[in-house]
Subunit: 407 residues, 2 copies
């Protein structure tokens, strides 16, 4: 969880909506003809979970030509390959995880709907590499709950919740120890707080929505420049009513892939820095000692920072652990270069008991749980609904993986 597409999401190819035939894999996806009833299509769902009540009936009613089969094989468990009781020969749409058929076994397959936001585990599979089968991710299903986790940890730090939970255990009404100097909540500096969001995808956009509702200002950082309204739009799936699909919330946009670009963003006076980028060669170690020093220097330049002699930025990582150099982070916490940090992902992960990171000051660590949600399957099936509709209309799929970029 936590991985998602920063850029280019949803720029999928045109869906092949014509009745599937026995053309070779290389020719699939070529006929964007509407097929309103999805005649001749078969959807196979591999998941141990119950489908949402009524989902299959509704889909059958909408597409009288569609066959739906739900196999409770867990596509995440076991490396023994696909379940043996499946006849792939007429499957055109497959919802799965790492379990995939060979191209030969599934000659009519057109669309693979993954149950994860990332597609890293399919990149070497021949069905992905050697065919034109479209692969779509679950990008967007994690945004709301991970954004909640970001807001929760920041508020918990600013309102000193860990301290008061300890006092509660001691049955101690600790009214007098509060430190006014720590009381910089998101809101309390509403026109001053700058929430920098590194990676403006489904998580970052929902963080922006909530932070804005609390009075914070939002700066966005993306790999590619977003100079136009069109370029700021997010074409990936998002939960209706949430996020910032049009990209209208940030007051400043930063971009680039070089260290200098990142440093410029980090020097912009951030009170909250949210890391919500996937792990790629470009993002690995993106936040190292030099970057923490940039944050520290930016803090010292402010009147308040000079007075308080400590860091200004609270760093939250919900992307992938290796995006942050753990050693540099520990130094930054020890030296007070940053105000504090919250990590739902670490490097290494899982974090071993003996690792010194656990006990660093001003740090909250949770074990990669921010993306958990009871509504995962509901949202996943909402994505399937969208892609079935697009298949029936011959339109581009949502959340389709770019085969060159691998995400």
């Amino acid at each position: 969880m936590g991985d998602y597409i920063v850029d280019e999401a949803g720029n999928g190819a045109v869906a092949a909506a014509s009745p599937p035939n026995q053309r070779g894999n290389a020719e699939r996806q070529q006929s964007p003809n509407p097929n309103p009833d999805l005649t001749g299509h078969k959807l196979l769902i591999l998941t141990p979970f119950d489908l949402p009540t009524g989902w299959a009936d509704a889909a059958r009613a909408r597409y009288p030509g569609l066959t739906i089969e739900h196999n409770r094989h867990n596509p995440w468990v076991g490396s023994g390959g696909p379940p043996e009781d499946v006849d792939w020969s007429d499957v055109t749409v497959l919802m799965t995880g790492p379990v995939l058929p060979s191209p030969r076994d599934a000659p009519r397959l057109q669309l693979v709907q993954l149950q994860s936001a990332g597609a890293n585990y399919v990149l070497e599979h021949p069905l992905f590499k050697d065919t034109k089968v479209a692969f779509c991710t679950a990008n967007g299903v994690h945004g709301p709950q991970i954004a909640e986790w970001v807001i929760m940890t920041y508020l918990a730090f600013q309102h000193r919740l860990p301290h008061y939970l300890d006092k509660q255990k001691e049955c101690h009404w600790d009214r007098d120890s509060h430190d006014m100097d720590t009381l910089d909540t998101v809101h309390q500096r509403m026109n001053l707080v700058h929430s920098g969001i590194l990676g403006y995808g489904s998580i970052g956009r929902q963080v922006a929505r909530v932070a804005t509702a609390m009075g914070a200002e939002v700066y966005a950082y993306t790999a590619h420049p977003r100079p136009t309204p069109e370029s700021r739009r997010d074409n990936a799936y998002y939960v209706p009513g949430l996020g910032d699909p049009e990209g209208v919330l940030p007051t400043r946009w930063f971009s680039g892939t070089s260290e200098a670009d990142v440093n410029e963003f980090l020097a912009s006076g951030l009170d909250l820095l949210v890391l919500a980028v996937p792990l790629t060669p470009q993002t690995r170690g993106m936040l190292g000692q030099a970057q923490f020093k940039v944050l520290a220097e930016a803090a010292e330049k402010t009147e308040e920072g000079a007075k308080r002699k400590r860091g200004k930025t609270y760093v939250v990582n919900v992307g992938r652990g290796p995006v942050v150099e753990t050693g540099a982070l520990m130094e930054a916490l020890d030296e007070g270069w940053i105000r504090g940090a919250a990590l739902d992902v670490t490097d290494p992960e899982p974090l071993p008991r003996e690792h010194p990171l656990w006990r660093k000051p001003n740090l909250i660590v949770t074990p990669h749980v921010s993306g958990n949600s009871t509504h995962y399957i509901d949202r996943l099936m909402a994505i399937v609904d969208i892609n079935l509709e697009r298949l029936s209309k011959g339109e581009r799929f949502i959340n389709q993986v770019n085969k060159k970029q691998g995400y």
Copy 2:
């Protein structure tokens, strides 16, 4: 902190903007004539805090006729009465707390700007009772940070932050113990979560703003019916850009002062219940055993509630402790009639070490700190700015206390 006006806030009398004279107290506030320069006015500020940088200079530039004096006497400390070094005779506007002059000593006084959201401590003072001097509160300065506290505690409970903080102390990456059944975040049921806000003032309105940004639905409960757009408006001070000043966010409105009215609201299927009412004879003990049973019965009627066999509603009290019967709350937590609770106010308060409430399950207690903010004085001076402007224009004051109702 935490107290505020539920209804009727800001319906102040017309400000007396004419040059102050030696008329008797009973005649003050009678001449709504503009006085753009505030000629003849003197503002005395009693507070130990620094004023915001540049505030006094800006006010003097705006009102050339206004004299401003800042006395660092703490108006909250000491019962020895007003400081002896103050000449009250020409003071027309006073910013203070419980420290007040006698009507005779301050014959030209027209406006008292209190530094608290409540006015309960002035109700028996002759300056309040026996004169027409306008009293205005700091209503609205607490909304943003207390709303943050409400959202923080709810998310902390739903995302099991106290559990993970304990595991962090044990250096234990506890990835596997998560309980999917507890994962009902605000968002995860975005179209199902009903946030009931009992008391729709500055706190409740900002909770509504943030909860809405997270995808929750908001039900509002007020003492008086709010059938029209005009009646839903909040005329009290609010931090610009925040809250719900027009009252457009709730999808349902409930009202009334009887137990039956309250019970009807509580039976509406609330996942989150926020108590943000002041303590009055009507609100004392508003949530007793019968009300917790209403919440339990409403939960049992839902499919999920019947399955989980436990309460559905998370109860948050940021009003005043005695609004909730502590014994009934403890029973509700023990019996699972509610999902959990967060209290920043308790009864008794402070909560003694030996009190059993401290150790109840699914409870977060903090020692009446949710209203703390480094921006308190900034916002307070913003209210003074508004009231000086209204004084200069002969308009109604903001946040004026209704002398009959006492708030």
